[in-house]
Amino acid sequence: MEYLIGIQGPDFVLVAADNVAASSIIQMKHDYDKMFKLSEKILLLCVGEAGDTVQFAEYIQKNVQLYKMRNGYELSPAAAANFTRKNLADYLRSRTPYHVNLLLAGYDEADGPGLYYMDYLSALAKAPFAAHGYGAFLTLSILDRYYRPDLTREEAVDLLKKCLEELNKRFILNLPSFTVRLIDKDGIHDMEKLPVGPK
C-alpha cells in the first residue's frame, strides 16, 4: 500500500515517500507527509500500522531532540538509527509492539551520507539503496541494475523516476504523488513532488 525508497550517493541521500493516507478502501488524504525530521540532517521515513507510525516516529523525534538539548550536540545518523532499532526491539516482545517499517537517512560530517533500513522486527542494515512496501518488489531490481556508488544528483533523481514509472505501470494501486527530499552537507532540501503521469 505505502512505499518508501532511499538512494545513497557519494555525498547525498535521496529519499521519497508516497503521499497517500488510506483507511481501508478510502484515500483520506492525498498530500500526507511520511517523513519526520529528526534533526537538521536526519530524516526518518515511517510506514506501517495506522497509529503506530506517528506515535513511534514522534517518540523517536522528540528523544533525538532531547538528546541535543541535554548534551549540546546532535546524534549522528548511525547513533539515531541504532537508538531507533533498540526501541523497536524493546517493544517487540511486549504487549504493544510497534508495527512500523522505517528508512533513516542522514548526513554525518565525519562518516558522510548514510541510509539505514529498519523493519518491524527491528532489523537494521546500512544499505546503499532500499525500499519498503509492495512497491519494493517491483523496484528493487531496477535499483540493483542501474545503481552505481558514484551517482550524481541528477542521475539519482532519474533512477528514482524510473522506479516510480515502473510502479505506475505495474502496481495495482494508484500512488499519484510522492514527496522527494535530498539530504547533503547543507541539510535537508525539498525537491518538487513527483507526479507520475498515466502511461
Binding site: 478510502i26 483520506m28 492525498h30 498530500d31 500500522e49 495506522a50 497509529g51 507510525t53 504487549r95 507526479p195
Partner: protein, 369 residues
Amino acid sequence: MALQNVCDLHNPPLFPQWSAPLSRSFMPEDSTHLSGGGIHGEAFSTRLPGRGSLSPLEFYMPIAEYLTESPINFGQTSLSSAPTKLLEIDHLHPSLPSISLPPPTPFPVSPSVPLPFTLSHGTTTLGFAFQGGVIAAADTRSSCSGLVACPASPKVLPIHSHLVGTTSGTSADCALWKRILARELRLYQLRHRRRLSTGGAAKLLSHMLHPFKGTELCVAATLCGWDGDDEKHEQPITEKHANTPTNQMTASNSSGQSAASGASATCGPRVIYVCSDGLRLQGELFSVGSGSPYAYSILDSSVYWGMSVQEATEVAREAVYRATYRDAYSGNNVDLYHVTAKGWRRRERENLKEEYYREKERERRVIAY
C-alpha cells in the same frame, strides 16, 4: 425474616466480622433459638455460595472474568491466561448455557474474549472547511447489527463554543470520549486562559486513546473547529481558492500548498480526523463511517473553497441524504452544524424521509412528461 424461615435460606455473610462468634457453635436445627439471635446464625452461615449446591433463591451472577479486569486490558489477547479463564467458568457452572455470539465487527477482534454485545459502527458523518467556516453533518441512526437501536441519536456533539466533533464507531465510546475531551479542554482553558487549538485537541484525544489500541474501543471522530482568539481575524477569500477546484493531484499542488498555508496561519477553520487506532490527519474534507464512500463521491465533485454557506449546507445535506439512501446503516435524520469565528450554529434536524418523497415526486413528474 419470614421468608428466610420458610425457605431455609443461607445468605452470604454480609458482615463477616459478626458471623464468626455466632455461627461456629450454633446448631441450625435448634428451632427454639430461631426467634432471637437465631436469625443471625441462620443468615451468617460460613457456607460460601458458588460451591456445591445452591439453594433455589440464591443467585450467583457469573461475572465474566474480563469485566473485572482493568478496561485497558479488555480485549487484548494474553496468550496464557485468556483460554484458562474461560475454562474455569465453564467448569464451575456447567449448567449455564454457553453464550454464542454472532460474528462480530469488520475490525479484527481477539478471538479469545467474546464481545458482550454487538457493537454498532454504521453511520455517515462528514466535515469540511471552506471560506465561510466548517460544516459538520451526520445522520442520526444508531444500529446494532440488524436493528435500528435509535433513530434519533445525535452524532455531532459540540465540545466547546468553537469546536464540534462528529462521532463514528461505538456510540457509547464516542459519547464518553467526547465528554472526557470536553473536560480536558475546559481545564486547559481555565489554566491557560485561552482555548486549545483544534490541532492540539486532536493530538490530546489521539494520545488519550493510544493506550486502548488493540482493544475493542472504536472511536473515529472528525474534529471541526475554528482556531483563533479574536473574532475580527476573519479569513479573506483569496482568488486562487475560488478558482481551483479541490484537485490536489495536479501541479496546482504547489499553489494549493501555499494557499493552504495562508489560510492555516494561526487562525481559521480546521478539520482533523482522529481514530482510535491512532490515525490523526489534518485536511479539508473528511467523511467517516459505513456511508462515507457514498458521501465522498458527492463531496469530491461539489466542495470547493470559495463556496457560500448556503451552497455548503446544501452539499452537506445532499451528501448525507445520498449516503442514507444507499447505506442500510445510515438513515433517519440529518444534523448539520456550522462553525465560524463566532462559534457553532446548529441547523434544525431534518427528516430525510421528506426529501426522499420529494425526490420520488420529482421523478414521477419527470417521467410523466
